[in-house]
């Protein structure tokens, strides 16, 4: 019999509860109705600050629920009738329930400062809050750089300050306590944190609060701090803590805590056994947890209980690791040494900008907790050791020499987001279910939350003796990156030379195109010159894309999508004269389909004579740089996106890479060119360009990440040069930029260090390699047309060059020709030529 679960609230925890229930409820015992107060489904509130990068709410979206879940948006539950077991909503809907889960979350606490209701004062909680803050900032009338105040210097306050910075506002952070992040960080760590964030145009005021907020005669906000300082402001954001939203429970007579929060037991049940409460609205043993991880484990408990299980809240790990304003901050276990007799060991390197502390028991044998600021790379190793024996000298744990090699005990939690132990990972590896990090992610969920444990997962694989094979194929034991370095350092120019010296056999369809790509990236002349012609994939061999009936498509380059009427007419005439199907693509080009091999040279003769070049649609290479119209025509554009897109497309045309590359340039934050869906994308700002990397459409779409902001054009191009060359040299075969970045040790931060800060000292070399590519570019189709030997390969039949392929035929659809697919011949007579060649 199907029963009804009503969930009140669709934040991250409410979402997780529904997701966990749907995952486990194989027989559909529960139908679920969710009421959300916000008008959009649950989103990643933890990543809220990243919304400021592109103002794209869809980037924060969580996975949608399946059809057994009814999600009601924009309708608040206003009444809970426990006797009738019905909830009523603001719109008047009455919804009966068999079980009810309150996931109402919390509201920001706004201290009673006079003037707190003035326009321009905001809280920081929802996407709508951020939109409202943005509207205030954009409407501010002050000349020069705008100023803002964030009241509250905790984790969320610094997040809010970062968001203000992203909007071009200089933030003042006002914290009542004596230091920043008082809950997570101690005085030493906070001191360093303050120094690091003040370099980023933040002003920190600690030990003080706002005593009033008013307006001056020009309408600007003025805040008086209790220490006598006055601040001229354009925007104020309150971020001084949260209060559980328990009013619905309160009015329904459920027990609530002295300081708020719906009282629950270890099963997350309220004083009414049919009503559960999870997340920031729940009060367990007098504690309200303001982090998402405990909320998630409460959600798992309730899902289990609803299905007859007996799990209980396991207690919360309040450890946190974050990157705030680009500064690593981590805090775990008994960070403040509250335990009796606890000892602290501190390594404070003011020069390097790192602070590390471990807290150990009075006998220095047990690790109790710690704090890391500036460099949190040891967090994944240290956090699971909390409550366990310290291996050796505590100083060695955080010492600059890299410390001791640690091996985790088997019951230690490796992934705190999903409560996965080392044992669980080791079992998955030992049973053969997981042979690599993606495998571990798929079968244990470890590494799929915040991702901070991924380096640990790699270590565990190695510990289990799993050697990650990097062999390209049966002919080469090396990875693509290693082959690239071999070819570069030995100056090898042929596949035969490479395979005979560094591999075995005669090669295959994996290693040959890979080596072809490497040789092309190293500027070895025309890709069809000499032996290189034999190792190209069919698309590269005929400089066109093979289609399902064996014909090819022709794609001339249209840089930035800008084209003259004359050129459009030429394309139209070519399409008409050769009877080609014509389609405009998503990459702002025109594809001409249905060309036979022998037609390709004649088609390209016409196109090259009209000034077109190869669009490289066939290659693992740069495809297009899409653009909007930018300042030239658009009312909103802030930079000339068209000129930049053309410049970038011409610069990187013909660049061979491990996977095809796409790019786009948007002239303003409205992002009409969809630059964040590209391998590298550029979005104009009022001060220059923002560069995003690692995005893609396709099977697993991913938004690109910001790697540099407000840079000028020369810097932008230098950074893209470095990014692309580093990718070309080190990525695996057919590895997209997104997967490449995810697979880098240290991920995006490492990439930023290498290409922005030149941490490996290779940037001059990368730039020189790109300069060579730019200098040596020549149109591949012109190279074929000018060479009779290469032209001779474009025949249908070697013994009947003029005869069309009889297996190719077309029919008409919407006024154009499309292929007639021949039935796949019967295979029973595979050795009967009449059967297969029909």
């Amino acid at each position: 019999m199907t029963r009804t679960l009503v969930v009140v609230g669709h934040g991250m925890v409410g979402h997780r509860l529904v997701e966990a229930l749907r995952e486990k409820d194989a027989t559909d015992r529960w139908r679920v109705v969710v009421f959300a107060e916000e008008t959009r489904p649950a989103y990643d509130r933890v990543a809220l600050s990243s919304y400021v990068d592109a103002w794209d709410a869809s980037a924060l979206a969580l996975a949608p629920h399946d059809g057994a879940v009814e999600l009601v948006l924009g309708d608040r539950v206003v009444e809970l009738d426990r006797t009738a077991k019905v909830v009523r909503t603001a719109s008047g809907r009455a919804q009966p329930y068999d079980a009810l889960a309150l996931a109402t979350g919390s509201v920001p606490f706004v201290p009673p400062v006079p003037g707190r209701d003035l326009p321009g004062c905001h809280v920081y909680r929802t996407i709508d809050d951020l939109d409202a803050i943005r509207a205030t900032v954009e409407g501010a009338r002050s000349g020069g750089r705008r100023a803002g105040m964030v009241l509250g210097g905790g984790l969320l306050g610094l997040e809010a300050a970062n968001a203000l910075r992203g909007m071009g506002v200089s933030p003042h952070v006002v914290e009542l306590g004596p230091r920043l992040m008082p809950l997570q960080v101690d005085e030493g760590g906070a001191g360093l944190l303050k120094r690091l964030v003040e370099k980023l145009d933040l002003t920190v005021h600690t030990g003080t609060s706002a005593s009033s907020i008013g307006r001056d005669h020009r309408g600007r906000l003025v805040a008086a701090l209790s220490n006598g300082v006055e601040l001229d402001l354009d925007v104020v954001v309150f971020s001084a803590g949260i209060r559980p939203r328990d009013e619905l429970a309160r009015s329904a007579g459920l027990a609530v805590g002295d300081r708020g929060g719906i009282v629950v037991d270890g099963a997350c049940r309220t004083s009414d056994p049919d009503v559960y409460a999870v997340g920031e609205c729940a009060n367990l043993d007098g504690v309200v947890y303001g982090l998402v991880a405990p909320g998630y484990s409460m959600a798992e408990v309730v899902a289990d209980r609803l299905l007859g299980g007996s799990s209980a809240f396991p207690g919360a790990d309040l450890s946190t690791k974050l990157k705030l304003l680009g500064v690593d901050v981590a805090s775990f276990g008994d960070a403040h040494a509250k335990q009796e007799g606890a000892l602290e060991v501190v390594v404070n390197d003011a020069v390097a900008g790192t602070y590390a502390k471990v807290v150990v028991s009075d006998d220095a044998r047990t690790l109790l907790g710690g704090i890391l600021v500036g460099d949190a790379s040891k967090y994944p190793l240290l956090r699971p050791l909390v409550g366990r024996a310290v291996p050796g000298d505590p100083v060695a744990l955080i010492g600059p020499s890299g410390g001791v090699e640690l091996s985790l005990p088997h019951d230690a939690q490796v992934c705190s987001c999903h409560a996965v132990t080392k044992q669980r990972v080791v079992d998955a590896v030992a049973s053969g279910d997981a042979v690599d990090v993606p495998g571990i992610k798929a079968c244990t969920k470890a590494g799929t939350g915040c991702g901070s444990c991924v380096p640990m997962l790699k270590k565990l694989l190695a510990e289990c003796g799993v050697e990650q094979s990097k062999a390209l194929c049966e002919h080469f034991d090396q990875s693509r990156a290693e082959l690239f370095e071999i070819a570069r350092s030995t100056g090898a120019t042929t596949f035969t030379g490479l395979v005979s010296r560094f591999g075995r056999g005669r090669g295959c369809d994996i290693c040959k195109p890979t080596v072809a790509s490497i040789l092309a990236s190293l500027d070895n002349g025309h890709i069809l010159a000499g032996e290189q012609a034999a190792i190209q994939d069919t698309n590269d061999h005929f400089l066109a894309n093979i289609q399902r009936n064996g014909t090819y498509s022709v794609v001339p380059r249209i840089p930035g999508g800008e084209i003259t009427a004359e050129k459009l007419i030429v394309i139209g005439e070519v399409a008409r004269d050769f009877g080609l199907y014509t389609k405009i693509t998503g990459g702002q080009r025109i594809d001409l389909f249905g060309a036979t091999v022998d037609q390709l040279p004649r088609i390209w003769r016409r196109l090259v004579d009209a000034g077109f070049e190869s669009g490289h649609a066939y290659g693992k290479s740069l495809r297009t740089v899409k653009s909007c119209v930018g300042t030239t025509w658009c009312r909103f554009g802030v930079q000339d996106s068209v000129s930049l897109a053309i410049e970038l497309e011409l610069r990187y045309r013909g660049l061979r890479s491990p996977h095809k590359l796409k790019s786009a340039v948007s002239g303003c934050a409205r992002e009409c060119a969809e630059a964040r869906g590209k391998d590298f994308g550029v979005i104009a700002t009022e001060n220059g360009w923002n560069l995003y990397v690692g995005g893609n459409g396709g099977f697993t779409p991913r938004h690109a990440d910001l790697i540099a902001s407000d840079v000028d054009t020369a810097t932008l191009i230098r950074l893209i040069d470095r990014f692309l060359m580093f990718y070309i040299r080190t990525a695996d075969r057919l590895q997209r930029t997104s997967a490449w970045i995810e697979g880098l040790d240290g991920g995006l931060d490492h990439l930023r260090a290498v290409v922005v800060d030149d941490s490996l000292g290779i940037c001059a070399d990368l730039e020189a390699a790109m300069a060579r590519h730019v200098d040596n570019y020549a149109d591949e189709w012109r190279g074929v047309l000018d060479d009779p030997e290469k032209l001779a390969r474009f025949t249908s039949f070697v013994n009947a060059p003029g005869t069309p392929d009889p297996t190719i035929s077309f029919r008409e659809e919407r006024g154009q020709k499309v292929p007639v697919l021949l039935g796949v011949p019967a295979l029973s007579g595979a050795n009967d030529p009449a059967e297969v060649s029909r």
């Binding site: 005669r506 698309n539 013994n799 392929d805 297996t807």
Partner: protein, 106 residues
């Protein structure tokens, strides 16, 4: 036997297509080891006449051509598909005489 082209017209480890008098198509390959092979040109998985445009190499030491459409490998000597041994393409006899490649019926 039908003469199809000069041996010198073939690129090592690459194929060409030829038309036989009965209207069937063959894919003729010269391997880097110096051997010449002729297989039916029609890829049984896509129905397209494209096998001559595949990459030639070896799988476990067995010389193969890989279809450019869905990437199945076909043994050059037997025409058998290594990815699905119940499938294959016909093999045509080949003779090279006086530098001319001649192909017969399978």
């Amino acid at each position: 036997m039908t003469p199809v082209c000069e041996l010198s017209a073939l690129l090592p480890d690459r194929g060409v297509a030829a038309l036989l008098p009965d209207g069937s198509q063959v894919a003729v390959f010269l391997t880097s080891a110096g051997t010449v092979h002729a297989l039916g040109n029609i890829d049984p998985f896509s129905g397209a006449a494209v096998l001559s445009r595949g990459i030639v190499g070896d799988r476990g030491g067995v010389p193969v051509v890989v279809s450019p459409v869905y990437k199945q490998a076909f043994e050059l000597t037997s025409g058998t598909c290594l990815d699905d041994p119940s499938t294959g393409v016909p093999v045509h006899p080949v003779v090279v005489a006086d530098g001319v490649v001649q192909v017969g019926s399978p």
